[in-house]
Subunit: 413 residues, 2 copies
């Protein structure tokens, strides 16, 4: 089973808008052992779309379209697919009745244009849309099945999940299981080399590695034609080897952010955190507070961009600022001590550096960042020279600071 | 002239990685009056890719591939395109000489595998790559031209810009010019309706509207087959009407973020800013400090997530917290006054609310956010009920706070 995903909508071609539905669909298909061979984005043009669907059906066993199922004249996916498969359109009054009832419950009259959504392709199974008006369609045709889904992710995802379980998944000849592991504190090339060596050859296993600044994700997927046990065994063996090789670097084995993983561990141990940021400018606090429930462990912090704030809010001495500069190990240390003293947090972390492009000196280049972690157990200071542009230096520094917290919680800092 | 863009690389299909090159390419093409009809992502499979290129050449006048030009065995774009166009591969020693020299300058010997990059498609123009080893190729064939570019954006962009100016742009039958305007403080549907009414019918004009939480972008594009003056006239008329209609909402007429636009205006007037954030958790400071040179106007702020920080760092009284709660107009006002008093900033802004999913009460639902702006000229408080999930409420609140600064700078707050 091979799939092609077609996103329909001129706005995906002509505006700065990315098709993200295909990521969701191809990931979920992969979990069932079905690989995506191609993704496409096509505008709202019936003839063009019909041609694309016809070509796609020659190559894949399942073609999935997203978008273009709405009630307006530029929603053309139904007609285009019917044309591609040389099938008729049939009007189903009961679909319109459901849509009409939907509007009635919202206290509105159904606009006449929505009757268009009552037209379906002959032989198609109608997939209910609990969130919106556009029903999905599934054509269980040979040699290629075609699935039509609406574009809004909130409508698409539950509909796709249902049809995947009931109709598409059972067609896969593979049993699949997967695991994700995220590690930090290593370069991508070092992680890659060590991963390859540590895993060796494992039957029925696919491995992918995906690096972002300061965080590396390892995805393990077991695939077996025989049974699920064989697939699970491959993942279990691989996960053990990864855990062993990267014990000192493991951030999480869940689909969660670095900040979420650290907040989880702080909560387990009933510890609180406060931060003092200069060059990251609030990004560390922002990442932490993106996590629901973060207020249980994260007290807050100071964005001490200006030196006066480092002095007045954090108690960094003017002498330190004058003698060593705002970007220095000494200032970082006083920032961390200051925020911990004034908030009473168990763990305090500070970041000060030069994110660029301006602000560098011969002694202090762009990318130079000092970190400091201060707790009742003592102090750890770090100096790093980061590469990348301003945005990359900020996110890399945030991940590095989180990694110092990880090291501390692991008992190594 | 219609274009199809094909991104090559299994990592774009099988990992959570989006093709962003096509956004850049289709935007730049559009600026020359060339529209993109389709975007595709295909894995590293020679036969498949060759089939896709052959089909694409049947529909478009220009086909652009990105990626798959490296030296390894899974870099197959050159061979696949040659196969699609039924052309031979030719070895060009001088290309290898340039790559060898590149390695030499880095003090390294060229790996033998890089000689593969010396093979080019017969009749192709070789496009130099000043940043990497993979040269691009341009086939000036009828009826469809084919352009092969490397995948890394830092290599692709300058190469594409050069070939667009020299080879592709001149083929367009359109003269094109464009303008961007960003507005705030309106819902998308209201902005859309007012825009349509205000613009009326303008010849040679394309308009697109793109909404993100709290910020709406209007793109005006003039296209003329006759001359540039006609295209420019369309944009000038449209821009005047947009300025007129949305005078009270205009954020910027540049390709810059909301935060960058406000920092620019603060700098012009030599004003400083400090912020006190609760529910946005540092995102406002983060957006401000994403802008290079922000330290000239932005002093910093406090992320007062915990109530104790609101009290100790911002001087919010315990009585206010107890009587009105942390999410209240009174607390917001004291937060703004506190941060201004303690930093000496000209403008202070505070945000406190419930980003969800937890923390709501019957009186204070998820999405309730209080804002306060405090300056020497006085105070403005606002209460808003925001929709969306935690992430959306955070970014919408950030944009709303920036909009209060805009109103103040415009003399309306």
């Amino acid at each position: 089973m091979r799939a092609i995903v077609i996103a329909v909508g001129s706005e995906l071609l002509n505006q700065e808008r990315l098709d993200t539905n295909s990521l969701y669909i191809s990931r979920r298909l992969r979990e069932k052992g079905i690989l995506t061979d191609m993704k496409m984005v096509v505008g709202d043009n019936r003839e063009y779309l019909s041609w694309v669907v016809r070509q796609a059906c020659k190559r894949a066993q399942i073609v999935i379209t997203t978008g273009g199922l709405g009630p307006t004249a530029d929603d053309l996916t139904r007609e285009a697919v019917a044309e591609a498969l040389r099938k008729e359109m049939i009007f189903r009054e009961e679909i319109v009745a459901i849509i009409r009832e939907r509007f009635r419950l919202m206290g509105m009259a159904m606009p006449e244009t929505n009757t268009r959504q009552g037209f379906v392709i002959e032989g198609a199974e109608v997939l209910p849309n609990p969130v919106g008006t556009a029903p999905g369609l599934f054509l269980d045709t040979e040699p290629c099945r075609v699935l039509l889904l609406p574009g809004p992710p909130a409508e698409l995802q539950p509909m796709f999940d249902a049809v995947l379980e009931a109709r598409i998944g059972p067609l896969s000849r593979f049993h699949v299981c997967s695991a994700v592991m995220r590690i930090a504190g290593l370069s991508e090339s070092e992680a890659d080399a060590r991963l390859t060596a540590a895993l060796g050859r494992i039957a029925n296993l696919d491995v992918t590695i995906l690096a972002s600044p300061g965080l590396i994700e390892i995805r393990l997927m077991g695939r077996s034609r025989k049974d699920m046990a064989e697939a699970e065994e491959a993942v279990t063996i691989a996960a053990d080897r990864v855990r062993n090789e990267f014990a000192r670097h493991l951030v999480t084995e869940k689909e969660e952010s670095f900040a979420a993983a650290m907040l989880g561990r702080l909560r387990e141990r009933d510890l609180t955190l406060a931060v003092a940021e200069s060059c990251t400018g609030g990004k560390l606090a922002d990442c932490l507070t993106d996590v629901p429930g973060s207020s249980r462990s994260f007290l807050g912090g100071v964005v001490a961009y200006d030196d006066a704030l480092k002095r007045d809010f954090l108690g960094v001495s003017q002498e330190t600022l004058t003698r060593f500069g705002a970007v220095s190990a000494e200032t970082a240390a006083e920032m961390a001590r200051g925020i911990r003293k004034r908030t009473g947090a168990d763990i305090a972390v500070s970041i000060t550096g030069i994110a660029g492009p301006g602000g560098a000196t011969p002694q202090k280049p762009v990318g130079l960042v000092y970190f400091h972690l201060h707790t009742a157990d003592g102090d750890v200071g770090q100096r790093r020279l980061m590469t990348g542009d301003r945005g990359v230096i900020k996110i890399r520094s945030v991940h590095y600071a989180l990694d110092m917290i990880r090291e501390y919680l692991d008992g190594r800092a």
